[in-house]
């Protein structure tokens, strides 16, 4: 920490109170990374403002000092979005966690960003309402973090991702001004700033209030579990079920490696040994039509070679299946010292092809790969086990992850479904975008943050690297020929 930073820390102490400013290595340790441990930085300090006005004052002070600031929710992000650069100021939103208002008739809640995702649904449950986006980390992650990353979840096949549920925002802009958009803003026509801020990863400012849509809890839910011998059969079933008449609420696939991990975890289901892939299929809505929907989906599974399939008989059984699925990432800890989770999206018709390619890419590097993912919307989550103690393994894992993303884009997909770009995938954006596309994003960014103090270096790739990144990228033709990454 240089002496020049002293005055800024003093200023921040004066704004939020010394008790809410953390300094020193030990205190700052939890703020040096998010859940992606590959990226790390030592912040100048971490501050926890207690109001939007304090957030604005902190932001203004950072800008005046020319120091970058990094907003942080629960730190559960997986792309390094909340990881500070050395000497930057972490702004924790943990103290801003009120539920400001709930309107039953309008089915809307206004919340502060530091509130936990599941707490909102629990709060409005007595009204028969809930908040739909449900990332696997929903019992820990914050709604502000969800907005920053435009998070998804298991049920966005039917209900959409975070941006589809955000109706308005209060935002502290990088210049310290507080503006309100959408239903929280002035009643006027205008450009969709709410949509622009969703998924902007803190690079356009800090959200201090969020108006979200609440949904009525479905009258009934039916969940079925289908067991296949192979991932290929399960993937074919996914494609056919999603194109039949009713959209399932969720469709989650686990391969044999993932199953072997979750069965060692906290919520084993007792899958038979021969299972090559499991498919969790859920429908919700009116009770009256649900059994027909489930039966239609199970009929499709029959045509695709399912070996065993049945509906959950009790809410407890359904709960166990879901806990088993949602604990999959954590269960990886039982089979490997560390794991890396990739996040790519592919067209559903390319599921079999890309899963096969991912397997080959991992095999070439001798890495253990498990697949557990939101199959219904083609959102892959390849999990790569590794040992950080072995030199070079962490880097190898990141390279394999990047090669799998290249395979996703070659197949017509995208480099992220819900974990964000952060520090991790800035260059990978060039797999799909050209320089002109990124330049357009940069112009919009610079219109709001010309000094680049809001979460600097995140989200947007460095300009001029498109050709270089693509040249270094994995090429499927090389693998077919038995090569590897070119």
């Amino acid at each position: 920490m240089g002496d020049a930073s002293g005055p800024l820390v003093q200023q921040l102490c004066a704004i939020v109170g010394p008790a809410h400013v953390l300094q020193g290595h030990a205190e700052l340790l939890p703020y040096m990374t998010d859940a992606n441990r590959a990226f790390r930085g030592t912040p100048l300090c971490a501050v926890a403002p207690g109001s939007a006005a304090e957030v604005a004052a902190v932001v203004s002070a950072c800008r005046a000092a020319g120091v970058g600031f990094v907003p942080r929710g629960a730190g559960t992000g997986l792309s390094g979005g909340a990881t500070p650069g050395d000497g930057e100021v972490v702004i924790s939103l943990a103290r801003l966690r009120r539920i400001v208002s709930v309107s039953e008739r309008s089915r809307m809640a206004v919340v502060e960003p530091g509130g936990i995702n599941t707490h909102l649904s629990r709060f409005v449950a007595p009204l028969g309402l809930y908040y739909a986006p449900d990332p696997s980390s929903q019992s820990a992650c914050t709604i502000g973090g969800n907005v920053a990353e435009n998070s998804g979840g298991a049920h966005c096949l039917k209900y959409g991702v975070t941006t589809n549920h955000v109706l308005g925002l209060e935002v502290v802009l990088p210049d310290g001004a507080i503006v309100r958009t959408g239903v929280l803003g002035p009643r006027c026509g205008g450009y969709d700033l709410t949509g622009l801020f969703c998924g902007s990863e803190g690079t356009l400012g800090i959200v201090t209030q969020i108006a979200v849509r609440l949904l009525r809890r479905p009258e009934a839910v039916r969940t079925a579990l289908a067991l296949f011998r192979s991932v290929e059969d399960a993937a074919r079933a996914v494609e056919e079920v999603t194109t039949s008449a009713a959209v399932p609420a969720a469709m989650e696939l686990m391969d044999a490696h993932a199953i072997s991990a979750v069965e060692k975890g906290t919520y084993p289901v007792g899958f038979p040994d021969w299972v090559g892939a499991s498919l969790l299929i859920e429908f919700d809505g009116l009770a009256v039509g649900l059994d027909d929907h489930v039966q239609a989906a199970l009929d499709v599974c029959q045509r695709c070679g399912v070996v065993e399939a049945r509906s959950a008989q009790t809410p407890e059984e359904r709960g166990r299946w879901w806990n088993n699925r949602k604990a999959a990432f954590a269960a990886m800890g039982r089979v490997a010292p560390a794991y890396y989770v990739a996040d790519g999206v592919i067209p559903r018709t390319a599921l079999r092809q890309v899963l096969d390619q991912a397997r080959r890419i991992a095999d070439q590097e001798g890495l253990w790969l498990a697949n557990v993912f939101h199959a219904g919307d083609g959102n892959l989550h390849p999990l790569l086990a590794y040992d950080p103690a072995q030199s070079g393994q962490a880097e190898a894992v990141m390279e394999v992850g990047s090669a799998i993303l290249a395979a996703c884009v070659y197949a017509g997909g995208a480099v992220s479904g819900e974990h964000g770009i952060g520090l991790e995938k800035r260059d990978e954006l060039y797999y799909y975008f050209d320089e002109e596309d990124i330049a357009a994003q940069r112009r919009v960014h610079d219109a709001l943050d010309p000094a680049d103090t809001a979460n600097p270096h995140k989200l947007l790739p460095r300009p001029g690297r498109c050709v270089e990144v693509r040249r270094a990228a994995w090429d499927p033709r090389a693998t077919v020929a038995g090569g590897g990454r070119s």
């Binding site: 008739r105 435009n150 959409g160 941006t163 001004a177 239903v183 002035p186 009643r187 006027c188 026509g189 205008g190 450009y191 969709d192 700033l193 709410t194 949509g195 622009l196 969703c198 998924g199 356009l204 009258e219 999603t242 194109t243 008449a245 009713a246 959209v247 809505g285 009116l286 009256v288 039509g289 027909d292 929907h293 239609a296 999206v345 592919i346 559903r348 919307d377 083609g378 017509g412 997909g413 995208a414 480099v415 992220s416 479904g417 974990h419 770009i421 954006l429 799909y432 050209d434 002109e436 596309d437 990124i438 330049a439 357009a440 994003q441 112009r443 919009v444 960014h445 219109a447 947007l460």
Partner: protein, 422 residues
Amino acid sequence: MGGVGTVEELGALRDAIEHAGISVKVVASTPGQTVGGVVPAAIVRPADMDALVGLVSIARRMGLGLIARGSGSQDGWGGPIRLPAVVVDLQAFRGIISYQPGDLTVRVRAGTPVGFLNTSLAAHGQTLALPTFGSATVGGCVVGDRGGFRGSGGIRDLVLGLSLVDGAGRAFKTGGNVVKNVSGLDIGKLLIGSFGTLGFVTEVACRVRPVPARTAISAARWPDRVQALAAMRLVEDAGLLPAAAAMVQEDGWCATLLQWEGNAAEVEHQSTRVRELWSAGERVEDPVAGGRLRAAEAADVQRGGVRVRCQVDGDALSVAWRGEALAGRPQAVVWPLAATLFWSWPDLDDTMEAVTVLRSAVQQAEEVGGLVTVIDAPKGVVQAAEISPWGNPGPLAGLYRRMKSAFDPDGILSPGRFIGEG
């Protein structure tokens, strides 16, 4: 170079196009062809991307405004266009680029009519979950943020990615082609509802869905607005899930209309249940009910007289529906699932009367915290009423200006029509 409006000036535009070697057809417009209450100098039809990019460059040099148009169904929306300006007809940008039924996604050229797209999708048992809106184009629905009366977020929730040419002639793409994609800053959202003021949308990738196995319509007539509203509340409180809903008020009666979608059991159960709930009303049978529903769905594209949209949530919707502050007994259409109301005085062409009713609509909307958008009014009425056709952006005005200049630094795209100028 000066404006375009005289024969000589049109000639200058033609010369510049010829000199650039691009394929753009120029047609002089006729006095009846108003856009935003003014008559543009000409209608130009770029044949391809090169022509469009070249046209933007010529327009920047000539200081000529460019008004994007698909089918023209939203020509009445927004403030009066500042002249000189020409209409850019994008109907040459037509056709499906890629469609994988198994992925439930399609990428189309923006000038493709929604109706044409839905016909193509229907061959595979799929549909874009948007009404056909007459001959409206996909790109027009995107820049108009057309949603229709469904409860979902309309086209905003269907668009996955866009390609566009901005006001500086730069071509780029946003988003992606898959149903879920995080792709950097979501700048494509800014284009949705931008009314041609940020760029020409040339391609749209969107999600489609299977055609529901069954559909049905329930409809009833009521003697007054209060009873119609109560009938809608019964449906909501019973936990039924209509795919679309509308209330319509014309002289002396009110109708409630619902559309059901789902499997046989769902549709049968809900339409039976509504028959019980609405037993006090006068039942309306198909095809009359279907016709009324289609008409209610088109409330935002009908032209003539004074037409206003009011967006308002929750209990305020029912206050607005009573419309006690409104002058001159308008017709009203409500899309309850989309929290949107329309008031129309369809035959009104007297300027003084039109000013009075328009002001009363703004006052009514303000009383309920609603957002008013003028979607049609006789020439000069918006100015005479001294209201902004989009409401007052207050502190957001500066942000809208910054967005506008990031896409359209010279302000040549539909000048005067929307917000974010000056």
